[in-house]
Symmetry: C2
Subunit: 456 residues, 2 copies
């Protein structure tokens, strides 16, 4: 353990940015405290597979303590951060005992790395969140899984034909990688995994509609790959609607301007906004609530406060282009902040002569259904099975922990060979009631189900 005089580095958030920062400080003479409100790091690129019952939560999440167990200069604390007091150089934590504000805990720092990430943004319509949940955490993923599986359950015993069709219609808002991957996976489940499990419905009649506000899917990919993704999705049976700006989401469906589409299950993969912690930094934020940082990823006037990952509005010093909100952005920014602090603490440099942050684009990947993907890596642009192999290899390599890699590989092999999806558990309090039909708003015009149907 470092001595009493070791500089205190506090890292907020155990996502890609925070973890990468902590690991970059492994050999530095500092005392690191990493604070997160969850005890686990989530490998978010595979969250959609938990949402679609292909993987279990435990396959893609690890306790942060466990990941950092060999790094003696790091303490991990499970706590909710209320705000950062940049003037006093402290982080204010929510009192875990729920007592009066007077006993609130404070953690002082010499260096701070804020990497608390982003959450969903509904373009100012927060009321849509109830009807269109997003996908950022393990809890989000199990909630999506619950909704997807309950949709088929409620359709199986729904007497009203219109309600049944709505229950079997899925709308996904946002045509980025998450939207594309969710749409493909839901279509795979409905078309190949579960048809034989149901007696009263043909799940192959399921509709999946992907709404993208812009002119093409995967806007950050080369146009040729956008086309390829659209073609592959449509071949799977997904209905792709581009230039489709969602103007309303209700319990009954989605409005695109004046056009209303009855959709029983809407999922949100469109906007993100940075964690609300940004406001307490008292610095200019961009439209998405991200802190606008300098070339060294610190906030104006505070060279000891770094912001990394989805919390930061940063630009790459070589191209002048914004750093994208992907895992690689967080990893590279966290690493930069950690290395910068390590160098200065070790006395090799000072805050006045910091090199600027340069983002290295390692490419973009998105999966489409069972064994297809699109990939752009450097000058390589490829689709189909080869891209899928690339995607699988890269994701397995980046997963934390050898055991997880083995388990995920085993699950993928199994799912692929047998069209199985074994993680199909509906869990949570609400399992006691099938809530889907009520959410669909068919209470009033619902035909009482015929009891004869049991004599099939």
């Amino acid at each position: 353990m470092p001595g009493i005089t070791a500089p205190r580095v506090v890292i907020l958030g155990g996502g890609f940015g925070g973890l990468s920062a902590a690991q970059s400080l492994a050999n530095a003479p500092v005392s690191v405290t990493l604070i997160d409100r969850r005890n686990h790091h989530v490998f978010t690129p595979l969250l959609y597979q938990v949402a679609t019952a292909g993987l279990s939560p435990g396959d893609i999440a690890s306790p942060i303590r466990w990941i950092l167990r060999h790094q003696a200069n790091v303490s991990v604390q499970l706590a909710n951060v209320v705000r950062v007091d940049v003037a006093r150089q402290t982080v204010v934590l929510e009192d875990p005992a729920g007592g009066p504000a007077a006993v609130t805990d404070e953690v002082p720092y010499d260096y701070l790395i804020v990497a608390t990430g982003a959450t969903h943004a509904y373009f100012g319509h927060d009321d849509w969140a109830t009807f269109a949940p997003g996908l950022k955490s393990i809890e989000d993923a199990t909630e999506l899984r619950r909704r997807i599986l309950l949709a088929f359950e409620s359709a199986e015993y729904e007497g009203n034909e219109e309600a049944r069709r709505a229950a079997l219609t899925f709308g996904i808002v946002g045509g980025g990688p998450t939207g594309v991957e969710l749409a493909g996976a839901i279509m795979e489940i409905a078309g190949h995994t579960i048809p034989r499990d149901y007696r009263h419905i043909d799940t192959r009649t399921t509709r999946v509609i992907l709404f993208e506000g812009g002119p093409r899917l995967l806007p950050t990919f080369p146009p040729a790959l956008s086309d390829r993704a659209r073609r592959d999705l449509e071949r799977l049976g997904v209905e792709v609607r581009v230039n489709a700006i969602v103007t309303d989401v209700t319990a009954h469906g989605v409005s695109i301007g004046g056009d209303f589409i009855a959709v029983g299950n809407v999922f949100w993969a469109a906007g993100v906004k940075a964690s609300p912690l940004g406001t307490s930094l008292r610095v200019p934020l961009d439209r998405a609530g991200r802190a606008i940082v300098g070339a060294d990823l610190t906030i104006p006037g505070h060279p000891e406060v770094f912001v990394a990952g989805d919390m930061a509005a940063a630009t790459s010093a070589d191209t002048g282009r914004p750093v994208p909100g992907v895992a690689q952005g967080g990893i590279q920014m966290g690493h930069f902040a950690g290395r910068t602090i390590a160098r200065e603490v070790e006395g090799g440099s000072s805050a006045t002569d910091r090199a600027p942050f340069v983002y290295r684009d390692k490419g973009s990947l998105a999966v489409i259904g069972k064994a297809k993907a699109v990939a752009q890596i450097g000058r390589l642009e490829v689709g189909g099975f080869l891209a899928w192999l690339l995607w699988g290899g890269i994701h397995i390599a980046f997963l934390i922990g050898f055991r997880h890699r083995l388990q995920v590989l085993l699950s993928w092999f199994w799912n692929w060979m047998l069209n199985a999806r074994d993680a199909r558990l509906i869990t949570g309090e609400a399992h006691l009631r099938i809530e889907a039909p009520r959410a669909l708003g068919f209470d009033a015009d619902r035909t009482p189900p015929s009891s004869e149907r049991h004599v099939a």
Copy 2:
């Protein structure tokens, strides 16, 4: 699919009893509807391993539909059963849309098999449930896992020494197999799995106290194995207290008569009571709420209504002894009910000449810690590593699905080799706040944590 005239068999519950009944009707000319309020069957003997982060929920639970997917005469319905109307031969379901009672769904039957199981019983002190949750479902298991992991998290940053010691004390009420297995597993985690993950506490100082009301642990096992279990648990570090009848459970601890023991985390493995559905059958119930059934497992005056598993107070025709509330009891009763119905529907026999139910005791097994167990199979009584191998082999063999067997074997191998427990996720809404200290009731006398401690 059977024709319109096929007798309708309705099975309530997808546990061991219900599933075994459905499978015994695979080739019978009947139309089966299996109703459960959850979509998945749980392999309950391994639930304690989910509670102690050794396995993931998906490893021991499978969708009921998927288990029965090849059995064309079965429909599976996700619904809450409100009551059974034995006079009108219908099962009344909760209206999934939450509408007025008038639209409540009803399912008529020719034969009914009630196998809705049991829940925890607190000897008339239902208020203890908050402080001492039990272990019957996947949700229970993830709640226990959350509490166990949060106990260490709150101890790590607890400034008050008394509160910290209480947070690291676990009390388990009930010395049957579940209590013994939980106690051993928690001691294993604290002593071997996580010590290196924490910086401020030594988790090896964790106390685990097992309270048993009777004179010996595992009362249904031979006395020599009870002694062996106690010895092995004590060698692990578990404190075993027999003849310890719990008279009170609060947020602060457990009372044994006038003796109060400060325990931060209490888990309940003592009493069970049958599902409340029994009262709607309008038949005599035993003290635990189980329906007292005849030799053919049906209720008086209704040869078409079978009760199986933990819902039934049944006796074995050969010995006159009660059938124990274990997985084998459910499996054998469900099988008996299914076969009896199949024979009568096929015309081979009538309800008046039914053979009585005979329970075949296949033995008892309980695990103690990492690689020890006690086993009684026929005349064989064995403890230690050999019993553990037996236990492992039998449980793997009875798990449903080849994939689950492979995954559990892999997890066991991994946990055993590396002392790892990878499923250590704290999930659920309450992850945002560390609730343990508040539940412990240390709000008032809690010392504000020193901020200096971050400079370790």
